[in-house]
Subunit: 311 residues, 2 copies
């Protein structure tokens, strides 16, 4: 089975961790959002790529959902003395990734090769691609501060400003990373992981060519919303602010025309009828992934469904 998974940060990383336990490196391609990437005092930070990679390499801090486990903060403590402002939390271990990546990018390496190199060094066998080698920035328009880069909104302002619009900014039309359109074309199905549709999956779909390639494929989304709440992150709050009810139905509507099926949590069984009306097949299961077993179980449910319906 050939699967392409689209993923953002924490929620996406959890399902991806389940998928890699079942699929071989030949069977899975992971495309990761880079719309949250930003420049931290000259260093290129790729939060979603790092969350996915650290998770697969078992280097991630499971409690916080970001950064490295067994992390220390000596750099940041000193840096704050010099810089005053340091709203982004960069740990000492994490910093090695950023310094190395920044140097490689500055010498002209495209991001996807840097990611490939990092994965090899961390012992990750599955293929992780950034959505693009080009800079694409998720810009959140807010009532209080106007336009903010995503990490400014998310970390610096702790998701407090009221969101009025989200857009994706790039200098020229960004190119999809070499190989990912081909991977989608050759896949048996595409999985949209339970990441924020507006903030984590939409940036990937905004890259010319990716959305249209996915439309031709059997595509399954896993809803990141359970009982009107996001498992993690600002999804539900942003839904409200954009005038959307935070339910899995809204997620399904957002993906209408793109997905064939959506996985909902057991607690959202009441939404089945609404989703069927969208000509999307709802699948009810446990979508909360606390343990590794949960992750594997959900990945298994998704893959079994794909195999049963599609292949």
């Amino acid at each position: 089975m050939k699967i392409v998974a689209l993923a953002g940060g924490v929620g996406g990383a959890k399902l991806v961790q389940g998928l890699v336990e079942i699929l071989t490196p030949d069977e899975l391609v992971i495309i990761v959002n880079t719309g949250d990437d930003f420049n931290f005092h000259g260093l290129r930070i790729c939060p979603d790529l790092d969350t996915i990679c650290y998770t697969l390499a078992e280097l991630s801090n499971i409690e916080t959902g970001w950064g490295r486990k067994d992390e220390s903060w000596q750099f940041l403590t000193e840096f704050k003395i010099l810089c005053g402002e340091a709203w982004f939390q960069v740990g000492d271990k994490d910093l090695a990734t950023h310094v190395y990546r920044t140097e490689e990018l500055n010498t002209g390496q495209p991001l996807h090769l840097v990611v490939q190199d990092l994965c090899a060094k961390w012992g990750i066998k599955h293929r992780i691609f950034p959505m693009s080698d080009d800079i694409v920035m998720t810009i959140v328009d807010t009532v209080e501060f106007g336009e903010l880069q995503f990490q400014e909104y998310f970390v610096r302002h702790q998701c407090k400003p009221k969101v009025t619009k989200i857009r994706f900014d790039s200098k020229d039309a960004p190119n999809p990373t070499p190989g990912i359109i081909d991977a989608i074309n050759r896949s048996d199905a595409v999985v949209l992981c339970p990441s924020n549709p507006w903030l984590s999956i939409d940036p990937i779909l905004s890259i010319p060519g990716i959305g249209s390639a996915i439309k031709k494929k059997f595509t399954v989304a896993v809803s990141p919303i359970i009982g009107g709440k996001a498992i993690k992150g600002p999804a539900a709050k942003i839904f409200y602010e954009l005038g959307i009810t935070p339910t899995s139905t809204s997620v399904a509507e957002h993906y209408e025309g793109l997905i064939n099926s959506i996985f909902l949590d057991n607690r959202d069984g009441n939404l089945v009828d609404e989703i069927v009306k969208l000509e999307i097949t709802p699948v009810i299961t446990n979508t909360i992934m606390n343990s590794k077993q949960d992750k594997i179980q959900l990945a298994n449910d998704v893959l079994n469904f794909i195999q049963r319906i599609n292949i």
Copy 2:
């Protein structure tokens, strides 16, 4: 009394630490070698400036003679996994300096303003200037590897290659840092701290305008050589390789025409006659600075001598 002190790394920092205990910030200007500066994976490292600043801010690691006290190495451990090579030891705390400085330089700040800013944040009241805002590289020509940047020779190859020549490389003629020629002109005396004459003081003297300004001043050197050995670092070895006997007489000869007097250690009393022949006044005292009291004592000896003879 207005004093300008020229200093390199560890030996220089020790005497400077003594001088700042006696002189007010108005009375002392410290000019520091930047010929050892280099690019560590995209970060600008200024070893001598950092040694001087960390020493004055009481942040330095006294055992190693470089870097920060209470340092940790999480960054470096991870970085080596990614990079393989990491011959320069960058600690987690130290890294904050490099990331901050690099960003400031990349936004167009001249080095001397970055140093001024760092000093203010570290609570250093005395004025520390880099010799130049321009890049000047100390290049060590070696039998084994040809030309090496100083830190490559010093740290990567641990001073093992045989030195045949030392030169200072810059794109254009480097400018002295704004204000330092004026500070020399207005000084009562110049002190060449006990740093390596060839590797730490010569780069400063190589900046057009600095040597000629110093020549007009009453200038005192403190020899870094005691009993034919360097207190620290590769000075004696390099002397041999360049065909020079490593004695304080050689140091005096090297500075001939520039200095009026040289401070020698008690153990080098036998060199007095040789030095007098050079028309340089030898002063015998204890030049080994182990304790803070030693540093203050030597600084006091130098300043008293200057006051007695010159002012």
